[in-house]
Amino acid sequence: MIDVLVVKTGVANLASVLAGLRRAGAEPHLGDDPDAVREARAVVLPGVGAFTAGVAGLRERHLDVAIADRVRAGKPLLAVCLGLQLLLEASEEGPGEQGLSVVPGVARRFDAHESIRVPQLGWNKVLPSQECQLLQPGYAYFANSYRLVEPPPGFASAMAFHGGSFVAAFERGPVLVCQFHPELSGAWGIDLLRRWAEKAGEGQSLEPPQRRGSVPQQTPSTGAAPREASC
């Protein structure tokens, strides 16, 4: 069972994320210490709330750099909803406010289009590109007014449609970034959490290659840890 550090962002509503991770077979705990975020085997950046408050909350706790470094180093990270937007350069929700800028792009409000509702609240079809390894096609639950339109370079993306096409999620190795809420997306979402947790746990020293008689050793939790499929 993999330990997952869920970043306390200062906004309520972490119960669903914690319950979802437990259901996916992970062992979540809350934390907001930058060193812990840096060192943890796997980190979840949950996202409920407004962009400006979210960025400010991360900066105050000195978590902005720790989280950006995880994305750059390819260390296991799951960012959800606002968590996606915080990784971008900016959002129309907080004009003048800079995001963590570790993923290129700006979150923009859904177009003032008569036929769509804003916020987008509900289940939408997620269509992953062929390069995606964790993301699979299915219905996911969204709750957002802002979205990223262009798939970010360097990641494998999944798209969805609400008035126009937008980025539902993207991934690179054990870094998974979702505009939707996997923890609220039923069995499909829990399966995705489980795949991510398994990916994050690869090379965690469950079955390190070892010589007969040697003492089992913990693999240091760095991004350079060898990747081993758990099955």
Binding site: S16, R117, P119, L121, G122, L184
Partner: protein
């Protein structure tokens, strides 16, 4: 494209599910967590828990019920009943609600909507709007489980609430609730045209045709209680019928 949501509603009193005609004549129909998990397994898109006793007896929705439901549920959970202050909303969100519905307290002091939306985001803040038709043919906001008429125009109130930050409207027809004669379609049409946030139609559903009518009138989601509680149909049964009628649903 977003699918039409089918939402079973659990009216809860003292930690047990109840459902009555016109908010009274309540009868026991089970354990909320058990029932919510069953609904998820049979296709519910979301669950709404309303503490029907909360306003009547000025009692807060039981946080313990929300906690128990959350532990079993992997779909969104909206909780209403007795939400007055930002701290009430915070307690429910902490316990595992994803959205909170505010009703009478918002009528008393509309700034409460703004405070909840600013603190937790518009997508968390649902306005529960109960409306009844007056003799002159307008829709009036009613509170206190329908016992008190406010004189407020329902459509204007919906607009104001959205301006103040409500991210969704749970629209219940007091006239239709519990009658099993279909939703109040003119009410759904009027409110869904007046605002851009999603509308959940509530009150009066007895079959899939009723749900389909509400979706065609502009609702984004349809809420029902008795058709699911009595075991007549599962949410998936209803959604299969809705799909045959032409609705986009998650199956």
């Amino acid at each position: 494209m977003l699918t039409a949501r089918v939402i079973p509603c659990l009216d809860v009193k003292d930690g047990r599910i109840v459902k009555g005609v016109r908010f009274s004549n309540l009868r026991d129909a089970g354990d909320p967590a058990e029932r919510a998990a069953l609904y998820e397994a049979t296709g519910a898109d979301e669950i709404v828990v309303l503490d029907v006793s909360a306003t009547l007896e000025a009692r807060k929705t039981r946080v313990a019920t929300v906690r128990a439901v959350r532990e079993r549920l992997s779909i969104p959970l909206t909780v209403g009943g007795g939400v007055r202050h930002t701290s009430d909303a915070g307690d429910l969100l902490d316990a595992g609600a994803d959205k909170v519905a505010i009703n009478s307290a918002a009528v008393d002091d509309p700034a409460r909507i703004t405070r909840i939306a600013e603190r937790f985001g518009a997508q968390c803040c649902v306005l529960a709007l109960d409306a009844a038709m007056t003799e002159t043919g307008m829709y009036e906001v009613v509170v206190k489980s329908g016992r008190e008429r406010t004189g407020k125009d329902a459509v204007a109130w919906a607009r104001e609430a959205v301006d103040r930050g409500a991210g969704e409207i749970l629209l219940t027809s007091f006239d239709k609730d519990g009658t099993r004669s279909g939703y109040d379609l003119p009410l759904v049409l009027a409110v869904s045209k007046a605002v851009r946030v999603p509308i959940i139609a509530s009150g009066g559903a007895a079959n899939a045709e009723h749900l389909w009518e509400a979706l065609r009138a502009g609702a984004d989601a349809v809420l029902a209680a008795s058709i699911f509680h009595d075991g007549e149909m599962t949410p998936d049964d209803v959604k299969r019928e809705l799909r045959a009628l032409g609705a986009e649903v998650r199956l």
